[in-house]
């Protein structure tokens, strides 16, 4: 039954909803490429609070393997801020995947360069 429903959903089209924006700011903890990250979410310029957020990461080459185990983010100090600790295997470029559940359902992809001083957006 659920499968039939799914097929119906597949064949429909729908309009785009308003998108969530994300940015990331990580600090290197100094050991084994563990980073403490602050994630800021906003929608239409307004901070987005109360979302259930999990954070994962992939290397750009081989996105279906070598991914780190996603972690759940905690709510941060300010509205729209979330905190997560990422345990990366190596520094360098990572594709960070932010999966939102809760009030909004979304998947956001951002690119960052992880170095020993912190993160910088790619290019």
């Amino acid at each position: 039954m659920r499968f039939l429903l799914l097929i119906c959903v597949f064949l429909t089209t729908s309009a785009a909803a308003q998108r969530v924006d994300a940015n990331l700011d990580c600090k290197y903890t100094g050991k084994d490429f563990i980073y403490d990250c602050v994630i800021r979410l906003s929608r239409g310029g307004e901070p987005l609070s109360g979302a259930q957020l999990s954070v994962g990461a992939d290397m750009p080459s081989m996105p279906m393997a070598h991914s780190i185990k996603p972690v759940k983010a905690r709510s941060g100090k300010k509205p729209g801020e979330y905190a997560a600790r990422l345990d990366l295997e190596m520094p360098g470029e990572w594709t960070v995947k932010l999966r939102l559940a809760g009030p909004v359902r979304d998947l956001l992809i951002v690119h960052y360069n992880f170095t020993e001083s912190g993160t910088a957006p790619r290019k």
Partner: protein, 294 residues
């Protein structure tokens, strides 16, 4: 099931498509380093279909498969007579050309307040068909595996048919196959096109799973891994490449405690395994033995 387990199982399913397509050529006697490109063709085509043209996913996936088969046949035609390393290098060259074309591919349209479409090396984001329809990761997982099982059923049927025997004859000795009256060129072209379509289907699903693709997703690493899966799992049955993927991703996930040493352990294990089983775990002999028991 938690989100993480769903993710791992989905990845295994997605990888299996491109591994099966490399395996198909391996059974026909050729090493292809180029299946990742058709995976990429499928990903881009399906992404453009749903995100830019507003098609439903099934239609976009079918278009992706057609395009993947066409691209593979186009690469296959001039290389039909190449054997061994020559064929392998030709597929690699073609795949890298396609990847560079993805890097040069800019085509964006305005949708709402943002521009959507492939943007060269910056990639193609916003392939949000699943999210817009509220399809849950678990449903997506079910869809991937239903399609994969469908493909497997076809493979296993072909395996026991005359076509399967012909295919293995071709892989065993193309000259002998030719002299036995098999139209080797047509058969090989068919295999190449089928492999392209299969990889493209995987790519179409991958693009929608990830919502974002970029040219580097389709570099040679993916191609060589796909090839390795078929050979590790075994050339005797279509379950071979699946076993290879499960072993690789499964072992990688299970050995998180070995973080940093995983590839050292796994790489060594693969090399040693191939010493003892050069045609993989489920090679023709094992498959024959299992069949005779069943």
């Amino acid at each position: 099931m938690d989100e993480y387990a769903i993710g791992v199982l989905t990845n295994i399913g997605l990888f299996s498509f491109v591994a099966l397509s490399a395996w198909l050529l391996l059974v026909a006697g050729e090493l292809s380093f180029g299946q990742q490109a058709f995976f990429g063709v499928g990903a881009y085509a399906a992404g453009i279909g749903t995100a830019m043209l507003g098609w439903p996913l099934p239609l976009a996936a079918l278009a992706a498969m057609a395009l993947g088969a066409a691209a593979a046949a186009l690469v296959g035609l001039p290389t039909l007579r190449l054997r061994g390393l020559y064929f392998t290098m030709a597929t690699l060259a073609a795949a890298e050309m396609l990847r560079i074309l993805f890097e040069l591919f800019h085509w964006q349209i305005a949708l709402g307040d943002e521009r959507i479409g492939p943007d060269g090396t910056q990639g193609f984001r916003g392939i949000r068909w699943m999210l817009e329809r509220g399809i849950e990761p678990l449903d997506f997982l079910a869809m991937v595996w239903i399609l994969l099982i469908g493909v497997m059923v076809i493979f296993l049927r072909v395996e026991n048919s005359r076509l399967g025997a012909t295919l293995r004859a071709l892989g065993h000795d193309p000259e002998l196959a030719r002299s036995a009256g098999i139209d080797v060129d047509r058969l090989k072209l068919g295999v190449v096109a089928a492999g392209g379509a299969l990889a493209a289907l995987g790519g179409a699903l991958f693009a929608h799973h990830n919502t974002y693709i970029e040219p580097r997703n389709f570099d040679i690493m993916l191609g060589v891994h796909s090839l390795a899966y078929g050979l590790i799992g075994g050339l005797g049955t279509a379950f071979g490449p699946l076993l290879g993927v499960v072993l690789d991703i499964g072992v990688l996930e299970a050995t998180r405690s070995l973080q940093g040493y995983r590839m050292i352990v796994f790489g060594g294990l693969v090399a040693v395994l191939l010493v003892f089983r050069p045609r993989g775990l489920l090679d023709e002999r094992v498959v024959h033995w299992i069949r005779s028991r069943a």
